[in-house]
Symmetry: C2
Subunit: 150 residues, 2 copies
Amino acid sequence: MKKKIAVLASAAMLTLAATSSMAQFAKGEDAIKYRESAMALIGSHFGRMAPVAKKEVPYNAEQIKANVAVLSVLAQLPWAGFAPGSEGGESKDDVWLDPEGFKQAEDDFLAAMDKLTVAADSGDFDAFRVAFGNTGKSCKSCHDAYRKEK
Amino acid sequence: MKKKIAVLASAAMLTLAATSSMAQFAKGEDAIKYRESAMALIGSHFGRMAPVAKKEVPYNAEQIKANVAVLSVLAQLPWAGFAPGSEGGESKDDVWLDPEGFKQAEDDFLAAMDKLTVAADSGDFDAFRVAFGNTGKSCKSCHDAYRKEK
């Protein structure tokens, strides 16, 4: 049986900012768990497309489109978790010491994700491949600067 | 600056089944991390509405609607993570010993989520409150049966 994702959101654009005011974390560790959970899901949904981009697995336009739709929602989530007082986990202190740089990295990633969405919706493999690569670069650039080495 | 959730998904309904065939986990621990990350996010986005349902915080219809839209996407995710050979983590073995019962619990939760989405979209507080309570019951029922005690 197929499960359906009711990404109805009939107005098509919802401001996540509207939910942020509810997104209070009682403890710093709650914020850490939240952002690291979101990053783990982003990593999974992004990474599973790598074999397609590398032409190791055939390109299925509908599959990629559906996965990118999920990813575009997940991509919005981690940021609220970098709350003041929630230093630690996998994050370098630079997240809080350099908030402007971190915000720029977030914006760059979200801009890359927007282009990935457009490319995935187009159904064109080369457009997808390029946008996928650029999004991956924005991930790596931010991780290099703001994530502890594993 | 407001961040926008591009829950475009213009066809309104996407089959997540389409992405499942990509959702192979290389190792059991990857599946465990995936499903527990999804559950953590679901817990956060669900739990943050509890003070509203309890009338401790004013009802903001747009805020609830946006949050439920995110939750409706997250709600689809954990299930692929209960893959064969990924026993462990917070899951009781009953997930794999009683697959029909577990599937029924998943279906009950998703049906409750559908009703919560309708209620949130309606903007009616009492409809939201009832649907929120029923969804919470479906969470608890499944956790009681299939999640290890913490």
